[in-house]
Symmetry: C2
Subunit: 206 residues, 2 copies
């Protein structure tokens, strides 16, 4: 796999292709085309063919893609042909919603440890897991070998929490806090900030 | 403003600049530099200077940027020098968390109407607003002139809900449902799918 040479923007589209292919699989559709995928995703078929060609030959000219095979290949490339244990830090409204969300497991992620610093919350259960105190983050994450975390703490607490997660061995952080956290080389961080998305759109509104 | 000529990827970074500048403002910092902004955001100072230069001359060589002035200009460019009324559809765990979130108003958005199709939820209050039935979406949105919406419904319900919002006049949709919705030309849609972000990261994990 030549992924080190593949532009990040292409890697970023693969989860969308995988999501659409999984949906097609659930619909019982065995074969698809770059045209059909493109229509579902609002992406041009030429772009999809070009993106997928970076990783090899997944379809046959004229016969399209086998949805299950292509999905398997994308899972392998994205490394979600396994299930990643995930730590979730922050049990406010959003953290609870994330903890209750049922859509992680069949896409490669399983929340296995949840943390909050509020003594009133520690020990209670959310989504079948006990809320652990944040003082236990480092030990628990190290013990379980957790490498992926979701951060649903207030902006002011995000950097310190990220630092602690990284010290414990976390290498990929999905940050829901409306701020930027600085991470060392080799640690991935991506953001979920709904306002950033909305401000991006309002720029274009007449 | 020459925004029609400005690459979308640049527009997409402006909300991050604005967020960092607002944070600096809260810290009482009156002047900043592209270096300092870059360090906070993990973006190169050259990139920041280049991005901002698309919109005119915001700083003086050698004296940096006035944080308040630059923030005001970015708010104007992003059209959040006003407050947009927002409709929120879907009152599951995530919709409730979004409705309770206190961070929208000072960044240009105010949720003014919330909808769900569950008769057991309709009429109850969330975040000070009554939950309205989805049958009322079109009338309510039209009556209030709402142009921005957040969609927190299950994937299977997202396209129909988006269609209804758009019929009622919505022009920008932030979609939390893990699916792609197809929208007509002139309607913006952006997505929040945590799994897409996490799969993007796991690709790079050793």
């Amino acid at each position: 796999m030549r992924s080190a040479l593949i532009p990040d923007v292409i890697i970023g589209r693969l989860p969308l292709y995988l999501r659409a292919l999984s949906q097609m699989g659930r619909e019982g559709k065995e074969i698809t085309s770059s045209q059909e995928l493109g229509e579902r995703l609002g992406i041009s078929s030429a772009q999809i063919r070009k993106d997928l060609s970076q990783f090899g030959e997944f379809g046959k000219q004229g016969t399209g893609y086998n949805t299950q095979y292509l999905a398997e290949q994308l899972r392998r490339i994205l490394k979600v042909d396994r299930v990643w244990d995930v730590a979730l830090v922050g049990m406010g409204d959003l953290g609870r919603a994330v903890a209750h969300y049922g859509g992680f497991l069949d896409r490669g992620f399983r929340i296995v440890a949840i943390f909050d610093n509020d003594p009133a919350k520690i020990g209670k259960e959310v989504g079948g897991l006990p809320i652990l105190g944040t003082h236990g983050i480092e030990g628990e994450i190290r013990r379980r070998g957790i490498r992926v975390a979701m951060l649903a703490v207030p902006a002011a607490a995000a950097q310190a929490a990220a630092d602690e997660l990284i010290r414990a061995g976390v290498q990929a952080i999905l940050c829901y806090a409306p701020t930027t956290v600085l991470v060392p080389e080799g640690v991935q961080v991506r953001y979920i900030d709904p306002v950033v998305g909305m401000q991006h759109m309002t720029h274009y509104l007449p």
